[in-house]
Amino acid sequence: MALVLSEEQQMLKSSAKEFFNGNAPVSALRRLRDEKNADGYDKRVWEEMVQMGWSGLVFPEEYGGLQFGYTGLGQIMYESGKTLTASPLMSTVVLAGTVINEFGSSEQKQKYISDICEGKRLFAVAFEEKNIHSPHIANTKVVDNKLSGSKKFVLDGHIADVFLVTASSDSGLGVYVVDAKGAGVHVERHIMMDSRNASTVTFDNASVLDMIGLPGDGKTIIDRSLDIARICLSAEMLGSMEEAFSRTVAYLKERKQFGVSIGSFQSLQHRAAHMYCEIELCKSLVIKSLQAIDQNADNLAHLASMTKAKVGQITELVSNEAIQMYGGIGMTDDEEIGFFLKRARVSQQTLGDYNYHLDKYAVLNNY
């Protein structure tokens, strides 16, 4: 398949770009941060995204979705990465939506996916327990339909109506549905360095409402869903990295020292040119991987790890070089470039950093 966007995907990308620039630019994230917004995202912006069908973009029409594919969703992620827009897109649509859509029964899809498409309820997936990404570990237990344990780094946990929780039972790892507002559920919100939110969620004999797949299916469900989410997150990271880079190149042309633009200094030119090349590789991985989701490719795990590893590395490189090339002004809170550095570090560790994925890629290839 040609590694270019179709006309429809291109159009979606343009409207996403216009929407985020107009409604949720970086300054909007700053405002949410400064006013200590209780939700951590702009409800009005999210409602409009739902109106446009973006919350249901990848889901089947019979449940209220548009069935437009992940390559399309990736373009929305990409554009939202450029503006660093905070929204429940990742937690509710990409993570929870994918888990249910890929592994839920048709009744479950009717019940949950249609709510996601209509923006009626927000979801969060709770699968981390350790301090670094370890999606297969669950000391959280399910006994007699009661779930107990503690989860870390639950993205958007503080606004979720429903949790999908990984937990162990005698049959192994499973994915369970728990009411976020129900008895025995305690949510502690943490504002992260990127001004977005993740929670520590403690379950104390919380009632299990439902289960996705069978009790032992958890690993399969999480592996595939996280791979899809890793690719979508990489698309967002690509947007952020490209935006940080183009701002940096613009600054190199604008800032004068020694009577010339700093962009005329070869030491900076070569570093910028090198970043350009690395970003080109990231673009190719992201589009290849997004298309692989839509084509149901059997090497999705390979592609997801390749993409998240490489994009993570280059996001780190570009965000660091951006601050260095801006000089002192890059260290000030007034300048927006610092927001990109902060988001880069959070997205890097979300769903596995490059250490994790380089290792995983080697394991997938049997070495």
Binding site: A2, L3, V4, V249, L252, K253, V260, S261, G263, S264, Q266, Q269, H270, A272, A273, H274, Y276, C277, E280, L281, C282, K283, S284, L285, I287, K288, M306, A309, K310, L358, D359, Y361, A362, V363, N365, N366, Y367
Partner: protein
Amino acid sequence: MSTATQVNIDAFRSETREWLEANCPQSMRSPVKTFKDYFWGGRNPTFHSEDQKLWFERMRDKGWTVPRWNKEYGGAGLSKSEYKVLKEEMAKIGARSPLFSFGIHMLGPALLGFGSEEQKLQYLPEIARGEMWWCQGYSEPGAGSDLAGLQTSAEDKGDHYLVNGQKVWTSYADYADKIFCLVRTDKNAPKHTGISFLLIDMKSEGVSTRPIKLISGSSPFCETFFDNVKVPKENLVGVENEGWNIAKYLLTHERSMIGNVAKMDKTLDEYAIESIGIEDSVLADPVNRIKTAQWLIDEAAFNFTLERALDEAKAGSPPGAKSSFFKYYGTEMNKRRYELMMSTGGFDNLVWGEEYEDGKTARDFCRTKANSIEGGTSEVQLNIISKHILGLPKK
């Protein structure tokens, strides 16, 4: 793509597959490794095996040494999509290039773009048929990265030019039949505007070569000397004093060729596993394990990017200065690959021996160091990307 076109392409694919299956000898279906695996053509061609000769002749007769060129120039006149199919089908069975030639990749495009019709009809078919071995005479001792500073002069003597000067780094000048050269035809003009593109027969009186031995121990390069060499006027390609445009155009071609990271018969992880071994189901050397994974990811990403560039070109966006990106990244990656092979390969790879084959990896490793020098250094490519892609200012 219209369905009719798609049907044609599908038919072309199956014909091509069948033809290759029937005509490509088994021994021509593995990556080129040694000097003997290359066929360069020339006035006195040397075939290193019967299969090599057979494969070359069959491909030549199909016009598939230069599949995109028109039939009257010795090609097959394939469309872009057909050419893509041919390349894919050849890659699928690991078929080698039947003919290695600077004529195809460097002089050919120059003639197609800038030559007169007589020149095209005279030179292109013999390139396509592998009857002429061309070498490239650009670099001089004083003109490397600053190529436009070249001094080899061609003086107008009425019916001919009189050429004097020295070229260096001329690959295979000691085997080649002819050389395409950049020469200075106007000493007083600014350096980029007094250069012309001239074709010279290596048999001409006053041309001599001296091989240069490289750190790899092989010497495919020469210094080439021109001492009062008479060159007919009709050997000028394009307009006098406008040769720099041709040179720039050609360097773009050359770069995209060097930038391709060659396939090898073992992938880097297979290589590492064979040499270091697996312990507790992972490669026994944890640092090389991660470096290997990293390199393989970069390789795949780079290949996707080549693929994407082709797809984008098809969709109408021009590659432009991108060839500098491919040249820079591809050559640096090839160096990294050999650095890793030296590291994972251990003591065995340190052997040098008498013949090139005795110490092949060590020698190839040394040779890769030139990848980021030849065809314009990495630093020069980064300069081009900065200026022409990023639009960063000159001082």
